[in-house]
Amino acid sequence: MEWRRIRDCIGTKLMLLVTVFVSILFFLIFFTLLSKSFLILETTSISELLLSSIWNPERGQFGLFPIIIGTIIVTGLSLIIAVPISLLSAIYIAEYAPKRVRQVIRPYIDLLAGVPSVVYGLCAFLFLVPLTRDVIAPWFGVESTGFCILSASLILSVMVFPIIISLCVESFCAIPVELKESSLSIGATKWETVKKVTFRASATSIISAVLLGFGRSFGETIAVNMVIGGKAMIPGTLFDPSETLASRIASAYGEMMSIPVYESALLFMALILFIVVIIFNLLGVLILRRAKKRWNY
């Protein structure tokens, strides 16, 4: 009996099985969400779902517009804050930092990436909410509870820092030294070299890093839920409470199981979340691969 050959055959088939499972997992999730959303798509038209502002689950009115606007504002603001800070930090780490500092900071940033999102939310609750309520809002002359878009965007940008910074540092370090040296030899200052050579060369990587950061920020649930205030209204100022898609799904935990239409609406929101995050992540990953192939890292 060829036991070794049989073991080889069984082992290989098992590995094939799990690999096939992982490849179709994505489609499984997509079709589960889609099939459960059919109920709400039958009872409410797409335009009412996406554009109406009335959110009244008991009466069967599901207008997602304020939630969608809230999501876009929170995500956009967090990226607007995070991208410049992360880019500059990445440049510092890659180009200007002394070696000892770099050896400490890079693992430090990776640690920041590993912090659970509940802890981020708790810190936002303990630090950002009072800060917004007592310092920032009165400075602008606005009354606020502190549970607002600004708090959520700030904590989201902190969560997005490690992703953008580590991807950018990796790509800045991968630019061939000859490019930078030839720029310096013509007489450009270090900052001019950074601006004109390094940024241009790693532009694709920077774009992909921002896209991946967007995907993370769009889908973040817990930290946003803890500080955003939970009122599904279109925010008038930065200091108004609002909701995002993800945080609304988390808030409705418990209620959703009882009413099938409500459950279907929440699954539809999850479907939108899923599709948007997938598109941005896919774009980000594909662009990053192309950049890696170009610069050989």
């Binding site: 082992g11 430090y108 889908g219």
Partner: protein
């Protein structure tokens, strides 16, 4: 530029510092060892033992399961087994799965579980966490398996071993540092993630008796208790956050340390 890097550095210090300060002050031996009892939410006695145990019951089996599945996938992605075009597609799907928000995994899992008829349970939580950790663990394992030199594999084939034997005995041993790092990082993510277990594992006050019970976990406990109006209940949430942060950060640090150190069998 120096301003921006100091903002980044300062934010981590603030986060760690806040949690440590608030949590340490409310931490006490009795909180860790006692489970919650009646009147829990109203500030009477009780601790967070159920949450700690629940987190362990959820995260450890999930990581084990994700390791077993992931090692199969990662080994299969070598060129020995599969055409590079197909492996490129599979790596792409793994990258996509890595980016999916955890709440989607939770919702997917609870829908499947309800269809089967089980509902919120430890089992559902374990499956959701496994799906969540799988892309992370597999990607790290894949990276380190790719770096195994081909001469090693060819030497093994030339001695007459089958592909599967080579994969399990030679390649896996060689890639141990990366595998270990991946598994530990996956474990850290699994312990800390709240969104996926929010729907699937429910939230109760007692230690789960069987695999079909709901259970509390550290992240969900923090999520539910952080804004309670009663200070002693909030104190439990802070203590839980302290423990969670310490656990996750130590796992990350240990994983980095171990992956550098466990190169004992690795042939350079």
């Amino acid at each position: 530029m120096y301003i921006s890097i100091s903002i980044v550095v300062a934010s981590l210090i603030i986060i760690v510092g806040l949690v440590l300060v608030n949590g340490a002050s409310s931490l006490s031996l009795e909180i860790i060892t006692q489970s919650s009892s009646g009147g829990y939410y109203l500030g009477k006695s009780g601790g967070i033992l159920n949450a700690i145990l629940g987190s362990l019951f959820l995260a450890l089996p999930a990581t084990g399961l994700a390791y077993v599945i992931g090692i199969g996938i990662a080994l299969y992605l070598q060129r020995d087994f599969v055409h590079p075009g197909i492996s490129g597609f599979i790596r792409l799907s793994l990258d996509i799965l890595w980016g999916i928000p955890s709440i989607v995994y939770g919702i997917f899992c609870i829908m499947i579980m309800i269809a089967i008829g089980i509902g919120t349970s430890v089992l559902a939580g374990i499956i959701a966490l496994t799906l969540l950790e799988l892309p992370i663990i597999t990607r790290y394992m894949d990276e380190s398996i790719k770096m195994v030199p081909i001469e090693l594999k060819e030497g093994s084939y030339s001695l007459g071993s089958t592909k599967f034997e080579t994969a399990i005995k030679v390649v896996r041993r060689q890639a141990v540092p990366g595998i270990l790092a991946g598994v530990l990082l996956g474990l850290g993510r699994g312990i800390g993630d709240a969104a996926s277990i929010l729907f699937t594992a429910g939230f109760t006050d007692s230690i789960p008796g069987s695999i079909l019970d709901s259970t509390a976990a550290l992240p969900t406990m923090i999520y539910h208790l952080y804004a309670s109006p009663i200070p002693s209940v909030r104190a439990r949430a802070y203590a839980g956050a302290f423990i969670l942060l310490v656990i996750v950060l130590s796992i990350n640090i240990i994983s980095r340390f171990l992956s550098r150190k466990s190169g004992k069998y690795v042939i350079k």
